[in-house]
């Protein structure tokens, strides 16, 4: 009976996923191990802008991002799932994903971060694009490794221009492909939120 219920749940999961408003890893055990091969465990916690200061925090997040929150996912009470990664009893990093509006559908932009806020891994959990292969290529993902919020501070997410290292990230697709800028916005939003929820707590 339990097996049947589990099977039914798994079968429904692509549809049940619609019911969730947060951004969770599809397979946390597998994904955490892949992003942090030396990890021995992880803890899941949930945060929201509402619970982290409300409107004042939202204003600060929008200012740091350089854009207003909008759409169905960018609400003040949207829950964010943070995976705290352990090696033994020590925290070695975090995994955090955000939803970002893309050209043809929602993007789910996940970052693996060390304890100082530096990106150690970047990947799309979900991406609808004609050039998905280019965006998902390691050559593009690796450009984010080693960057932190400070590198994105001056990045204009509407133009992709700025003075930090983030401005040097190369578009893997055509110049007209909006998903490059959408990705930069997703990454910056991810870093700004992690700064609020974890690093600047």
């Amino acid at each position: 009976m339990i097996k049947r219920l589990v099977l039914l749940f798994l079968a429904l999961s692509p549809f049940l996923a619609y019911a969730a408003t947060g951004c969770d890893l599809n397979d946390p055990d597998r994904d955490v191990k892949r992003l942090f091969p030396t990890s021995t465990g992880y803890k899941t916690s949930y945060a929201s802008i509402q619970k982290s200061g409300g409107k004042a925090t939202l204003a600060a997040v929008e200012k740091a991002l350089g854009d207003k929150f909008g759409g169905l996912y960018e609400t003040i009470d949207a829950p964010y799932t943070i995976y705290t990664i352990y090696k033994g009893n020590s925290v070695i990093g975090y995994v955090h994903g955000v939803n970002q509006k893309g050209a043809y559908g929602g993007l789910q932009v996940f970052l693996a971060l060390d304890t100082k806020g530096k990106i150690t891994g970047f990947y799309y959990q979900k991406l609808s694009s004609k050039n998905a292969a280019k965006f998902k290529a390691a050559a593009f993902a690796n450009q984010f490794t080693g960057l932190s919020l400070a590198d994105f501070a001056t990045l204009d997410i509407k133009t992709g221009k700025g003075t930090g290292k983030a401005a040097l990230i190369k578009n893997p697709s055509t110049a007209t492909d909006k998903d490059f800028l959408n990705t930069l916005r997703g990454v910056k939003k991810n870093l700004v939120l992690m700064n609020v929820f974890i690093y600047n707590k």
């Binding site: 079968a11 692509p14 549809f15 996923a17 619609y18 759409g71 043809y104 559908g105 609808s128 004609k130």
Partner: protein, 398 residues
């Protein structure tokens, strides 16, 4: 010369408190009767409306074709089977069919969904018939497609939320590289439709190269149709399977029948209470006026006069009681409905109590008839009083 009606009216006024209490008793019985009959109608009507809102009662699919999301996902989006589009024409010819709507389910593997990719489903529908079948689907923004061949999509609430789509945005059909414009986003309905991406079925036929093919047909039957019998008839079509809500409808029908029996039982009890009340009041009045009636008879009143007098008094009481009770039921219909809704474990949407003029007149007729019936015995007793007995009975009092 006083008329019988004048005397009857005066008699009732003489015992004002008792008359008022009797009228009140009849009024309460009428209120209960009208409300119960109104509930009987409203409840059945609301349940029928709820059944209508379920959409089609019968789903005809190609044999072996998954017809709902869970099965489709279990099969990894594979295993779709088709039936020819002209099946719709032969189904439409059946007199028991009220409406039908063709559907085409298509799935595609999206490598961008998750680590290993995932299946995305599209439901092709007919914009002319499908919305009518699903009246509970309302728009958060936008509207249905502009045409049956348009490259447009309407998204269920959850799918729009997941894909972060708004009206005017594009979606991409993976593998086909076809761009589709979102023209509508539905409100949350709490059904499987929330996670569905709708497109015109003719457009899907073109995109996926399955011209003149359907995966299912939704069929709404006329209210008088026998779903079970129709289901059997459908099985004569080769290579199809039938999914129906006959069981749901049967359960609801049983619920209605049970409610009807209960309501009618309570109504009969209310009528009996009114009947006994009226009979008791009039009988008391007759016994109290025993000598008076005897004197009336000795002064020339006939048996018929006395019978008519007492019967008329009954009629007046029932008429006033009936009018007041009917007014009460109309005025308190909403409150009664709310009370029933609070008590019932499941109550359908819409008005639970439906009171209209024919129902009020019908109930008034019943109350009057019952009143007249219960007035016969006291009137007969009064008519049979002998003047000499009445006068003799007063001797002891003098």
């Amino acid at each position: 010369m006083p008329t019988i009606s004048g005397i009857a009216y005066k008699n009732l006024r003489r015992k004002r408190i008792r008359s008022i209490l009797t009228i009140l008793g009849i009024a309460l019985s009428t209120w209960v009767l009208v409300s119960l009959l109104g509930f009987n109608r409203g409840y059945e009507n609301s349940l029928n409306k709820d059944i209508d809102n379920l959409g089609f009662q019968v789903l005809l699919t190609a044999k072996g074709c998954p017809y709902e999301a869970a099965t489709l996902m279990l099969q990894g989006g594979q295993g779709l089977r088709y039936m020819p589009e002209n099946t719709v024409d032969s189904l439409r010819a059946d007199k028991e069919v009220e409406e039908l709507t063709p559907m085409l389910m298509q799935t595609v593997f999206d490598p961008g969904k998750g680590e290993e990719g995932g299946v995305v489903g599209y439901l092709g529908i007919d914009p002319a018939t499908y919305p009518k079948m699903k009246p509970y689907l309302t728009f958060r923004e936008g509207k249905w497609f502009s045409g049956e061949n348009s490259m447009e999509a309407v998204m269920g609430f959850e799918s729009a939320e997941l894909e972060q789509r708004e009206v005017g945005d594009q979606i991409l059909i993976p593998g086909k590289n076809v761009e589709v414009t979102v023209v509508g986003i539905l409100n949350r309905s709490g059904t499987q439709d929330d996670g569905t991406i709708f497109m015109p079925y003719k457009s899907l036929q073109k995109i996926f190269g399955v011209q003149d093919k359907l995966t299912s047909v939704g069929i709404k039957l006329k209210k008088t149709a026998n779903i079970n019998a129709y289901e059997e008839k459908l099985y004569t079509i080769p290579d199809v399977q039938v999914v129906s809500i006959a069981q749901v409808k049967n359960t609801i029908s049983n619920l209605v029948s049970t409610a009807r029996v209960m309501v009618m039982s309570i109504a009969i009890i209310a009528i009996l209470i009114a009947m006994v009340g009226v009979m008791n009041t009039i009988l008391m009045s007759v016994w109290e006026r025993f000598q008076e009636i005897g004197i009336m008879k000795s002064m020339g009143a006939t048996t018929s006069h006395i019978f008519r007098l007492i019967w008329l008094e009954t009629t007046i009481l029932c008429l006033f009681g009936g009018i007041i009770g009917s007014l009460l039921s109309v005025v308190l219909a909403k409150a009664t409905g709310a009370l029933i809704r609070y008590i019932l474990p499941y109550s359908p949407t819409g008005s639970l109590i439906r009171i209209d003029a024919p129902l009020v007149l019908e109930s008034m007729g019943i109350i009057l008839f019952i009143g007249l019936l219960s007035g016969i015995y006291p009137s007969l007793r009064a008519a049979r009083i002998k003047p000499i007995e009445a006068i003799r009975s007063s001797e002891g009092e003098l």
